[in-house]
């Protein structure tokens, strides 16, 4: 690494129609630093990086490298200038090998345009050995674990001699252990002279690895700060007002067990057992959180309860009644409230008004319907009281739900599901893509429901959220239940469980040292 670059973004503005995604953003990335861009979802971090990488043309402003202005017409210009990017959603062709993916766009060839992947393999081996990546150049990318795929992305950048590496929300898809490994890789890269722009909204990681933190809120730079800044202060910079990060919840007061799952197995269309012989109970007045890396059967498990899965065996009993084999409608009328993991797909009808979305499950019942006619007045009446109760920020009850922010959409879903007397409440990813301010509110509502004596099941891939809310934590791995542990279980043990290692053998391996930021909960 001979070149060490200084990168400067000066007055970058990017608008999409009337939406201002970036508003005169100034950022200077000094050589050999890990520079973090901290901001909530939708603050404009990814847009800014796509401008830097040449994917978007800035509406206004300049990019300077070593104080000289440059213009990137496409990613190839950015790569030629020494900038590499690891996207949040990996830019890897799943059916290609690692070597093919790395070669793509800068393919070494023999005479006549024939590929010469031997060179690429050698380069991959070199980088892999240097950083201990352990990547096989001939493996198919779709067969690799997510963490390894991410390393392939990093290799792609390094092969092109990137001096500045942009990592866009790199830890979103990783287990805690993989995250730690990534943070180490970042430190190693820095030691070798690579500057890193680290985009994240997770305070713990940001504080652990950054040299300098720039906070972005609603497309503007709020300020720069040092990693020593306290988490509360960082969070309030990010959100724009002071937020309470720790939820002071009363201890659970579990009563009788009313929800029982026994030997639940769900078979996917390809024959795989995506949920494999799972048994657990939830008592009234307690929250059970299902933790695990995305795609380990959580989705199918909740859908099985709802009656959305076809090939289900085993038993799911609520208040003594069997739910397996029932239709969704029957399950809902048994008193199950359900917040699906993807609100825009399964939770709301985006083109329907907020008011209509609030009665999606009750539209055919009195008082909203009489015979074949609906009562719009009652629907609106219901809407205004729900909107007030759940603090939904919407221009009016008639505004299309799709136009609301993520947090407000989630409040609409939650308001609808919690508006009936429930016997079981299930929430999948209750705060995914939701602003920090709304998270607090949504969490409080879930606790309130628990304290009313409803059994609550939370599914979350965010370990912080799990540890925050849960009274007991169940960890899933490859469709199997690794174990159920009490809420105070350490992050390390949970991390190992998420990788499939049961708590008994996991505990011995987990380092007992507490983390620097052990106290924070964001």
């Amino acid at each position: 690494m001979v070149r060490v670059l200084k990168l400067e973004l000066r007055g970058i503005t990017k608008t999409f129609g009337t939406l201002v995604a970036n508003d005169h953003i100034d950022v200077v990335v000094e050589p050999g630093q890990i520079h973090c861009l901290l901001g909530e979802n939708g603050a404009g971090k990814s847009t800014l990086m796509n401008v830097l990488y040449g994917l978007y043309e800035p509406t206004d402003g300049q990019i300077l490298i070593d104080d000289k202005p440059v213009v990137f017409r496409g990613p190839s210009d950015a790569m030629a200038a020494g900038i590499g990017m690891v996207h949040q959603h990996f830019m890897l062709v799943p059916v290609f090998t690692v070597a093919e993916n790395v070669a793509l766009g800068a393919e070494p060839t023999k005479a006549g345009g024939f590929l010469n992947l031997e060179q690429t393999r050698k380069k991959i081996k070199d980088i892999s050995d240097k950083y201990g990546f352990d990547v096989d150049p001939d493996a198919l990318v779709e067969d690799l674990p997510v963490g390894v795929q991410q390393r392939v992305e990093i290799i792609k950048a390094l092969v092109r001699d990137a001096n500045i590496l942009i990592l866009d929300e790199p830890t979103a898809v990783l287990t805690p252990q993989e995250t730690d490994e990534l943070l180490n890789i970042m430190r190693q890269l820095k030691a070798n002279g690579t500057s890193i722009v680290f985009i994240s909204h997770k305070l713990r990681e940001v504080k652990a690895v950054s040299d300098i933190i720039t906070v972005i809120r609603r497309g503007k730079v709020v300020g720069s700060t040092q990693p020593e800044t306290s988490t509360t202060e960082l969070a309030s910079m990010m959100v724009g007002r002071s937020v309470s990060l720790t939820l002071n919840k009363a201890p659970a007061n579990p009563q009788e067990t009313t929800f029982e799952v026994r030997d639940l197995t769900v078979v996917a269309p390809n024959g795989q057992h995506v949920v494999d012989g799972i048994s657990f109970d939830i008592a009234r007045g307690e929250i059970l959180a299902l933790a695990g890396v995305q795609g380990n059967g959580q989705t199918e498990l909740t859908e099985a309860v709802l009656g959305l899965q076809e090939r289900v065996s085993g038993s799911i009993r609520l208040d003594g009644h069997e739910l397996v084999g029932r239709s969704v409608k029957q399950v809902l009328s048994a008193g199950v409230g359900y917040v699906p993991e993807d609100r825009t797909v399964d939770g709301l009808v985006g083109t329907f008004s907020v008011a209509e979305n609030l009665v999606l499950d009750l539209y055919d019942k009195v008082p909203f319907a009489k015979g074949i006619s609906m009562s719009p007045a009652k629907v609106l009446e219901n809407a205004s009281s729900r909107i007030e109760e759940f603090d939904v920020r919407t221009p009016s009850a008639m505004a299309p739900a799709g136009k609301l922010s993520g947090g407000n959409q989630q409040k609409v879903v939650m308001a609808r599901e919690l508006s009936r007397p429930l016997r079981l409440f299930i929430a999948s990813q209750p705060t995914r893509g939701v602003d920090v301010g709304s998270i607090e509110f949504l969490h409080r509502r879930i606790i309130t429901e628990r304290d009313r004596g409803t059994p609550v099941m939370i599914v979350s891939t965010e370990l912080d959220e799990v540890m925050e809310l849960a009274d007991r934590i169940a960890v899933l791995y490859k469709g199997k239940l690794v174990g159920i542990v009490p809420s105070g279980t350490s992050r390390d043990v949970l991390g190992l469980m998420m990788a499939g290692i049961a708590p008994d053998d996991g505990a011995s391996q987990a380092p007992s040292t507490s983390r620097a930021e052990g106290g924070d909960h964001v």
Partner: protein, 435 residues
């Protein structure tokens, strides 16, 4: 990396990924289908089989050594072959009860035996129970030529992420242009070139609308088919019919015979006694295969068709790659179309392509988006097509209308039943819009 590498990572976050098939249960589908077919074979080919001898000629007059024709007693052969079929079906059932799937070659062998039994039955029951195997196969290849070019066009387009429903229109456009240009210039090679150009132009319209203006690719393709059909039909009646001598008597492409080699029984006429278009077909299949899988161009094309955003972030111009590939695909289909008017028939008629563009599409899917697979799939359809015309001539017990359905029946069965779940390019048919 001194860290926690001891923890095995989750192997995949998508449980539905292709790898996890290990737990796939063996289904009853294959055994049931095979058993049913075997019983049908026993009943129709065996018990109700004809009592004649079927004769299959192998050598044609020009071969440098003659092989005697194969004479088979149809009834006995029907019984024996259907018992073999029953045995194979029984074996898959036995394997199923043991919980294992039948090996991949078993259904293939089953189909081959079934087809042989069918051939013996149908020939044995004919008024003249004798056909030339050599002629059957050579004719199959001839009929397959436009299909092969059409499906190669489909491969080129779909691999880059554009569905080309307009193959039919490109074949027809190529056939028309070749006829008229060759008639006027009296030079079939200029006609061939013009056919390629015509196909490319039709493809450019497809590319322009589907890539630049993001119109639904299927709709543009269907509209193009109708447009080309109407346009050629109109020009045929107004221009060609006005002076057929001048505008519709194309100079044909000569058949180039390679001495000695062309006299090898069966293989000779297929490989070494072809028109320029025929030789071009073999070359094109090979070239597209090498191009797609061994070159830089191919890697980029496949990346664009699988994950255009990944290609874009690596500095590849997705839409330009798509545009030129689709254009090239059109040119290939245009050449295929010229076969109708420069080799097979000596003049253009309305709808001369007769739906072969759609069969080519089926061949593309049956061949799993692979040039070589598409080639063999096209050969299979060509075989079915040729078989029905020969069988109609020798007078089979089956009504000729049913025989005419054979190629399409084979197409439906092949694509629906035998392909199973094949996976096309992931981004095929999805327009790429930045951001």
């Amino acid at each position: 990396m001194s860290t926690t590498a001891t923890a095995p990572r989750p192997e995949s976050t998508t449980p539905s990924s292709a790898k996890g098939i290990s737990g796939k249960p063996v289904t009853w589908r294959t055994p049931i289908v095979l058993a049913f077919m075997a019983v049908v074979a026993l009943l129709i080919f065996g018990i109700l089989g004809p009592n004649q001898e079927a004769s299959f000629g192998i050598s044609s007059g020009g071969d440098f050594f003659q092989l005697p024709a194969i004479i088979v007693p149809a009834f006995a052969a029907g019984i024996i072959l259907s018992i073999i079929l029953l045995g194979l079906a029984g074996w898959t059932i036995y394997l199923k009860t043991k919980g294992t799937a039948a090996p991949a070659w078993l259904p293939v062998l089953f189909i081959v035996v079934f087809v042989v039994a069918f051939l013996i039955w149908v020939v044995g029951g004919a008024r003249t129970p004798s056909i030339s195997l050599a002629g059957l196969i050579a004719g199959s290849v001839t009929l397959a030529v436009p299909l092969v070019f059409g499906s190669l066009s489909g491969v080129l387009c779909e691999r880059v992420g554009v569905v080309n429903i307009a193959i039919e229109g490109q074949l027809l456009g190529g056939a028309f242009t070749a006829a008229i240009v060759s008639s006027i210039t009296k030079n079939p090679f200029i006609g061939l070139l013009a056919a390629a150009l015509a196909g490319a132009v039709i493809s450019m319209v497809l590319a322009l609308f589907s890539i630049k203006y993001v119109v639904n690719q299927i709709i543009v393709g269907v509209v193009l088919n109708v447009l080309v059909s109407g346009l050629t039909g109109f020009l045929f009646s107004t221009v060609m019919q006005s002076d057929p001598q001048k505008y519709n008597s194309p100079e044909g492409l000569p058949i180039v015979e390679i001495p000695l080699l062309s006299s090898i029984p069966i293989l000779g006429p297929i490989l070494f006694k072809q028109s320029v278009v025929g030789y071009l077909m073999y070359f094109a299949v090979f070239a597209v295969w090498v191009g797609l899988f061994k070159t830089k161009w191919g890697l980029r094309v496949r990346a664009v068709g699988e994950h255009p955003q990944a290609a874009d972030t690596m500095g590849i111009n997705v839409n330009a790659t798509r545009f030129w590939n689709v254009t090239l695909g059109g040119a290939v289909a245009g050449i295929g179309g010229s076969f109708f008017t420069l080799v097979a028939i000596d003049s253009f008629t309305k709808e001369i392509s007769g739906g072969r563009g759609f069969i080519a599409l089926a061949a593309l899917i049956f061949g799993r988006w692979n040039p070589i697979g598409a080639f063999f799939a096209a050969l299979l359809f060509g075989f079915a097509d040729n078989l029905q015309s020969i069988l109609t001539i020798i007078g089979t017990p089956v009504p000729s209308q049913f025989m005419a359905m054979l190629p399409y029946l084979v197409t439906v069965l092949a694509v629906a039943g035998l392909v199973g779940k094949s996976r096309g390019p992931a981004a095929s048919g999805i327009p790429y819009v930045k951001g």
